[in-house]
Amino acid sequence: MKVLKDKKAWIVFMAPALLFYIATVFVPIIQSLLYGFQNWNGIGDRSYIGFDNYVKMYRDPFFWNAVKNNLGYVAIVVFMQVFIGLFLALLLTYIKKGTSTLKTLYYLPAVIVTVAIAQLFRNIFSLQPQGLFNIMLEFVGLGHWQKAWLSDPATALAAVSVPEGWRFIGLYMVILYSALIAIPKETEEAALIDGVNGWQLIRHIKLPSIANVISLCLIMCITGALRGFDIPYMIGVPGSSTELVTTYMYKKAFSSMQYGYGSSIAVFIVLESIIAVAIINALFKLRKGDAA
């Protein structure tokens, strides 16, 4: 159709969004890259210092501590969101009645304001006054385990990761559930006729059929957790055990006014996300190769 090849109309429809996107997302990324090579505190002269910021980052023990914490955070969040999410999705496929209500309610925490979740968990993990979690420990006879989970350096990282993991379990459940119910019935039936049991069906038929969606969930979840910020920033201990790469970058940029150094850390976050995606894709390709 000629009308669909109207170049002027195409530009009218496309240009506003494209320009908006470039200006608010891509121009800042390029600027970050440039700032990463500068020594600048926001006022006065900027000077190009090559890779000095990156060398500084490499030698900065606080930065590496943040990276280490961030990996712990990723591990907890991925375990909760993807593994528990997958477990729930599988569970739902065996339930006949009420799945849509269950789905809606499981999903509820995902829509609640982060600051509300953060404050809620600040209370849940609190010792003085006794929070929900400590009350429950006492209730089941584990009173001696009670502690201030958020301020104890040994448990603080887990205590800021759990709320983040918890709130998006429902999101991953919904995604994985839709993939599971899209598996053709014939595949399952054929396997059942061949005499596979329930567990084998899950292990050898269902999970391989949704491998693509699982890898996408892992990508979403891991890149999401690598840039995790809100909850650790809001309720993390002002020390080092809940410092993540993002919160460290934020502190360097907006408290210490080290815009150059902050930008180089921001670039690091982009790079580690790209690397994570590449690793997951490679692992899933490898697995596919084995199966074939």
Binding site: M1, F20, L105, Y107, L108, V113, Y259, S263
Partner: protein, 278 residues
């Protein structure tokens, strides 16, 4: 024997499902119940229903804090963003999916990579730019990046819908004398109602809940959104007054929960859209 076993496993299945349901929603219910209790009752009977339904916490939050100002700010930002997002992404989606240009696939891919980009990488450059242009503490400062970062997913959702709009409809409209703009606004756009609701509802949730942009670009109460405002007056009340804190939180989550309960199908569809690629 088999039926007995079957019944037991069904029972177990539902028991686990309900246990998890409790883990997922009990904290929210507990939060709302706690907001209706006095401080004494909160510590002495934390799990019970409030003995009398106290609205004192609510009235003091409303009296002593700027909560309604924050809600107003959040609403202004959120609705401006949604209007822009729907306008921009519905039209570019049409151009990329329905119009026939070779570069369309590449442009769509360019938008799709935006889903992976961490917002933090843009904070410093935007902060500096806003400072130079005097845009810190303004609605604009919040609206610009929110719309930019919402575009990738929204464009994707629209293009996926347009795929199912048959070209015959467009042809028929052209025969009737419509030009391309009329085809879009009079014929295609009205078909996308449900998609518009999906895009609007997920972005409503993302933007209403945003913390990092408003925390970075606003520090004047006049422009603070609820996510940042809430954080602030919790400190002002001190950590001990949990009753008021819970009341403030309850007020702030109400619009979201309401929208979600009405539009949950659209919300779930939209949020999972990003991952389930065609």
């Amino acid at each position: 024997m088999t039926t007995g076993k079957f019944r037991f496993s069904t029972f177990l299945l539902y028991a686990v499902a309900i246990l998890i349901l409790i883990v997922q929603i009990y904290p929210v219910i507990w939060l709302i119940l706690s907001s209706l209790k006095s401080s004494i009752e909160l510590t002495s009977r934390p799990f019970s229903l409030p003995s009398t339904w106290l609205f004192d916490n609510y009235s003091s939050v409303i009296r002593e804090s700027h909560i309604f100002l924050y809600i107003k700010n959040t609403a202004i930002v959120t609705f401006s963003c949604i209007i822009l997002i729907v306008l921009l992404s519905s039209s570019i989606g049409f151009a990329l999916e329905k119009m026939q240009f070779k570069i369309n696939a590449k442009l769509l891919a360019f938008f799709t990579i935006g889903i992976m980009i961490p917002v933090q990488v843009t904070l410093i450059p935007l902060f500096i730019m806003y400072k130079n242009f005097g845009l810190l503490n303004s609605y604009t400062a919040l609206i610009l990046p929110q719309v930019g970062f919402a575009l990738p997913l929204s464009v994707l959702i629209f293009t996926r819908f347009y795929k199912y709009v048959p070209n015959e409809i467009i042809e028929a409209a052209v025969m009737d004398g419509c030009n391309i703009y009329q085809v879009f606004y009079r014929i295609v756009l009205p078909l996308t109602n449900n998609t518009i609701i999906t895009v609007a509802s997920i972005n409503f949730i993302f933007i209403w809940n945003d913390f990092i942009f408003s925390n970075t670009f606003t520090n004047d109460s006049q422009y603070k959104t609820i996510a940042v405002g809430l954080q602030e007056f919790i400190g002002a009340f001190g950590a001990t007054d949990w009753g008021q804190t819970f009341a403030a939180i309850s007020i702030s989550i109400m619009p979201i929960v309401l929208i979600y309960l009405i539009l949950n199908k659209n919300v779930m569809a939209g949020m999972s859209e990003g991952s389930v690629k065609g």
